[in-house]
């Protein structure tokens, strides 16, 4: 079925007004040899049939709510989403609107983005936020674009910590392949026990940007203040890729002196959705605002003296600056920025701290119990947030398969990206994991340990 409301008699009347006999006549300009191809697609479904087909596809997955107990994180996390978030997202006034280019009839979207920007600044300790990027990985790549524009190509080196998410590092490489940059530091053979200060050695007068992650890919929390100071001493900028839930509890990258703070906003009220769409947040200092990509909402007044909001500094963007723009971004993640704003509003100051503390305590309980098992142990000694690396006495693949048999989605196999961490499992624990679930994980892994 279609959603076309034109009746046959209306169509006839319209064709007469246009001055053609039949609809096909409108396509005379299309090369005849290729006109009206027969498409081999399945027969059209009614809404009832489509609902059933999609229902079957969805039902054939095993979910982390009901089917499996999940300890899988590595960039996307299973958090609770208050009901109110989706009720707001489902308002057609928000989700069926376009980018707010006509501010007189878009103040809902504009004020919501302005509040989102404010919330992200509050969370990261930064001064300016844009209206979003596609995800955490592309936001990190856009940090390179900012630095490149800031130095106008006069510096050519980017230092990336090996403990930045492997997929983020891959995306940064893809994005920068035409820019003639040197990426250093992210050697998978690097000493992963060495503290963040070890990266300072890579930063020199040719370095435009240093990128670190907080907590890092292994869940570890470091105070980057000294590293950032060292990088600034060489004139380089520093980007911190941060987990927004951790920021409820821990010192902000803003306090540490970061120039850019980006990250994956999915933990803030966005479902896992098999990896997307999610939200890339991007915050920086006011002095870099002209080099920041993406849309930006600013406060102003309208002709009636009312406080109002508009897209501002738009001449930075691709539709005006074209090939000289910092980035080509146009569509962003507007609706998911709204989801995060609603989430942060309703969870609020107390709720977000509570979520972060629950994650912390449960992850530490799990780590403590698991590290007691024979042949297993925590890989690193640094403080961690809600994710930790567990050393096993056999291949992760084998252990995860065993866990899956017991309905447990194990962690991430670190050996895929770090040869030195063969047989290491990255385990994530959130507020969604009960003590019983953690005990079940410990119990099954105890069996594995004794096998």
């Amino acid at each position: 079925m279609t959603y076309i409301p034109i009746t046959p008699s209306e169509r006839e009347a319209m064709l007469a007004t246009i001055g053609v006999k039949k609809v096909e006549d409108l396509f005379a300009v299309v090369p005849a040899a290729y006109r009206f191809p027969k498409l081999d697609l399945p027969p059209a479904l009614t809404e009832m049939e489509a609902a059933a087909e999609l229902g079957d596809l969805a039902a054939s997955n095993e979910t982390v709510r009901g089917d499996l107990i999940s300890f899988l994180g590595a960039g996307m996390y299973n958090h609770y989403i208050p009901a109110v978030v989706d009720h707001i997202l489902r308002r057609g006034e928000f989700y069926t609107a376009y980018t707010p280019y006509q501010p007189e009839i878009s103040q809902g979207t504009l004020q919501a983005i302005f509040e989102y920007q404010s919330l992200m600044c509050a969370l990261t300790g930064m001064e300016v936020s844009n209206a979003s990027h596609y995800d955490g990985a592309t936001a990190a790549a856009e940090a390179v674009n900012l630095a490149y524009a800031q130095f106008r190509g006069k510096r050519s080196k980017v230092v990336v910590s090996p403990t930045v998410h492997p997929q983020y590092r891959a995306v940064i490489r893809t994005y920068t392949q035409g820019m003639e940059l040197t990426l250093v530091g992210d050697d998978p053979q690097a000493d992963l026990e060495a503290g963040p200060e070890s990266l300072a050695g890579f930063v020199d007068e040719d370095t435009m940007l240093l990128i670190v992650q907080y907590p890092d890919f292994f869940g570890r929390i470091y105070d980057y203040t000294n590293l950032i100071e060292a990088a600034h001493a060489k004139g380089a900028l520093v980007c911190v890729v941060a987990n927004p839930i951790a920021l409820a509890l821990f010192k902000t990258p803003g306090e540490m002196g970061a120039d850019i703070v980006v990250g994956e906003g999915q933990p803030l009220g966005i479902p896992l959705w098999y990896g997307g769409p999610s939200l890339g947040f991007f915050t920086t200092r006011k002095k870099f605002v002209h080099k920041m990509a993406g849309r930006l909402v600013g406060e102003t007044v309208d002709s009636r003296g009312q406080r109002a909001y508009v897209l501002t500094l738009t001449a930075r963007e691709q539709h005006i600056k074209r090939e000289r723009a910092t980035s080509n971004i146009c569509s962003n993640q507007g609706l998911l920025a709204l989801a995060s704003a609603v989430y942060l509003s309703v969870v609020g100051k107390q709720g977000l701290r509570q979520v972060a503390e629950l994650c912390y305590h449960k992850a530490h309980y799990a780590a403590e119990q698991l590290s007691k098992l024979p042949g297993m142990g925590l890989c690193f000694s640094a403080p961690f947030f809600h994710e930790f690396s567990l050393c096993l006495n056999r291949p992760v693949e084998e252990v995860n398969a065993h866990l899956l048999e017991h309905g447990i989605l194990g962690g991430y196999d670190l050996g895929q990206d770090y040869p030195a961490l063969k047989d290491h499992l990255l385990i994530a624990v959130t507020e969604m994991n009960t003590k019983e679930e953690i005990d079940a994980l410990v119990h099954v892994l105890a069996e594995v340990a004794h096998d």
């Binding site: 002209h290 500094l313 001449a315 930075r316 600056k321 000289r324």
Partner: protein, 126 residues
């Protein structure tokens, strides 16, 4: 009316150059086309040697973006650092406080004089 001082020389990209002082900037016509300028970034530094036509500044208004090109070749002796904090000066005083850079020993022989530039502006208005 567009203000076109007779003592200055002009480029097709709407820069002005003052052979007496060596200063250059954006013409009144250009600032009016761009409308309210909100950002200026000077891309060259004191001591740089420029080729005529090389980009020397990047300008953004509320609705447009433009590059300012060197009206003449030569050595940059001074850049107008006050523009960064007061980009609106390019609108309010394009030939005075809104100068962009000062160039030493620039050769203005290839540039338009005021009457040729006035004709050039009038042509584009229609």
């Amino acid at each position: 009316m567009t203000n076109i001082p007779s003592n200055l020389k002009y480029t097709k990209n709407d820069e002005w150059f003052d052979p007496a002082s060596g200063k250059m900037g954006l013409s009144d016509y250009a600032q009016a086309q761009l409308s309210d300028i909100v950002f200026v970034e000077i891309l060259v530094g004191e001591g740089d040697t420029l080729q005529a036509g090389q980009a020397v500044a990047s300008v953004e208004s509320v609705k447009a973006a433009a590059e300012v090109y060197a009206a003449v070749g030569g050595k940059v002796v001074k850049v107008n650092e006050t523009l960064a904090d007061a980009p609106e000066t390019l609108n309010s005083d394009p030939y005075g406080a809104g100068w962009v850079i000062q160039i030493e020993d620039g050769d203005a022989s290839g540039l338009m004089d005021a009457s040729a530039y006035e004709k050039y502006c009038a042509e584009r208005a229609h």
